[in-house]
């Protein structure tokens, strides 16, 4: 509800400015169609993710000996736990889709051009943040899928000469995937990335 309200305001002001400039810059004003909704839908999905994510924070314990059992608890025992986790999961999938569609729309319409370079640049960062959300969130259930996919992922920078191995160790918080890896992925997923999202989002609207 609050998200919708914020969106109403930001959309209005953002588009108003852009609209005026666009009309001045260009003889043909852009026609509004359904593809203009992609950005708003992405924002809506982000709100769904925040709500379901915070709900799960009440039950999830980010440690290698409790992560799996607390996810099991959320999935099977907690009332409404399964739909909440499912909404988090599916919103995340859809968010990647809609971020991509939104970017493509902006690209095809040439809407990243002067004077909106800044919107585009903050948008690219938001795209990166979304992917980082996906990568860190994937590890949190601490199941086989999570463990092995993340292992391959964190070792990928290793191929970079000189600093590569250190980068991998930095991601893992040690020389192997373990207790500290889960802790830092959790901290990044629920605190660092949301803060950066808010900062870049403020510059994006």
């Amino acid at each position: 509800m609050f998200g919708r309200l914020v969106e109403v305001f930001d959309r209005r002001f953002g588009f108003r400015e852009d609209f005026k400039r666009n009309v001045l810059d260009h003889p043909v004003p852009p026609r509004i169609n359904l593809t203009y909704c992609f950005g708003g839908i992405t924002f809506l999905l982000y709100m769904l993710l925040a709500a379901t994510g915070i709900t799960m924070l009440f039950f999830y314990v980010p440690s290698v000996d409790h992560a799996f059992v607390t996810v099991e608890y959320i999935t099977f025992d907690l009332p409404l736990g399964n739909p909440i986790r499912a909404i988090h999961h599916w919103s995340a999938q859809l968010m990647i889709v809609f971020v991509s569609l939104h970017m493509l729309r902006v690209f095809v319409y040439g809407a990243y051009k002067n004077p909106r370079e800044f919107n585009w640049v903050t948008g690219v960062f938001l795209f990166g943040i979304t992917l980082a959300f996906g990568f860190t969130g994937y590890l949190l259930p601490w199941d086989q899928k999570a463990y092995w996919a993340t292992k391959v992922g964190v070792l990928m920078p290793k191929s970079l000469p000189a600093v590569g191995p250190f980068l991998s160790q930095l991601l893992m918080g040690g020389d192997d995937l373990g207790a500290l890896t889960l802790s830092r992925f959790f901290a990044i997923h629920v605190a660092v990335l949301p803060i950066f999202t808010v900062i870049f989002l403020a510059g994006h609207f």
């Binding site: 930095l170 192997d176 207790a179």
Partner: protein, 163 residues
């Protein structure tokens, strides 16, 4: 005129002061936080130790055996059981042990009895029976581990002997 000049100087001074103070606080805080967050990359190393991995009779046939070892280790704040996969084989008196961790991106390799090679399920890296990388993406041989037989028990040292 001079007063104006003075005022500007004073203003400049205050502005610089604000900048320096907030900057110092930000750098101090950020630096402390980042140092602490980054430190485990260097300090959180798993120590090698001798671990019992079953009885010696199990590997008496001179073939490669897949041994999952479980041992107490410290990993950050956690002191508890750690699991690791090792391939061991009896070479006469000597015990030959290889870490199953693929040197490419860390998957565990499988021993293929047909070819006598180790195969990685992830990107099809292949190692020969001595652990040498023979094809696919792996950049190095499998890590060798120290192993021995003591009182009829198979003992493995979790530290990498030779990478």
């Amino acid at each position: 005129m001079e007063q104006d000049g003075k005022r500007v100087t004073r203003r400049k001074f205050l502005e610089t002061g604000i900048g320096v103070i907030t900057g110092a606080i930000a750098i101090g805080l950020g630096g402390t936080a980042l140092t602490s967050i980054g430190a485990p990359a260097i300090t959180n190393k798993r120590e090698g130790k001798w671990v019992e991995a079953g009885s010696a009779s199990e590997i008496a046939d001179g073939q490669f055996h897949k041994v999952g070892i479980v041992y107490d280790a410290k990993d950050g704040w956690l002191e508890g059981k750690v699991k690791q996969l090792v391939y061991v084989k009896l070479n006469g008196e000597e015990v030959f042990a290889l870490s199953a961790t693929c040197t490419h991106l860390g998957c565990n390799v499988n021993f293929d009895e047909q070819t006598g090679n180790f195969k990685c399920p992830c990107h099809s890296g292949v190692y020969d029976a001595t652990g040498k990388n023979v094809s696919g993406p792996p950049p190095r041989s499998l890590a060798k581990l120290e192993a021995k037989i003591e009182d009829g028990k198979l003992m493995i040292n979790t530290a990498v002997k030779e990478a």
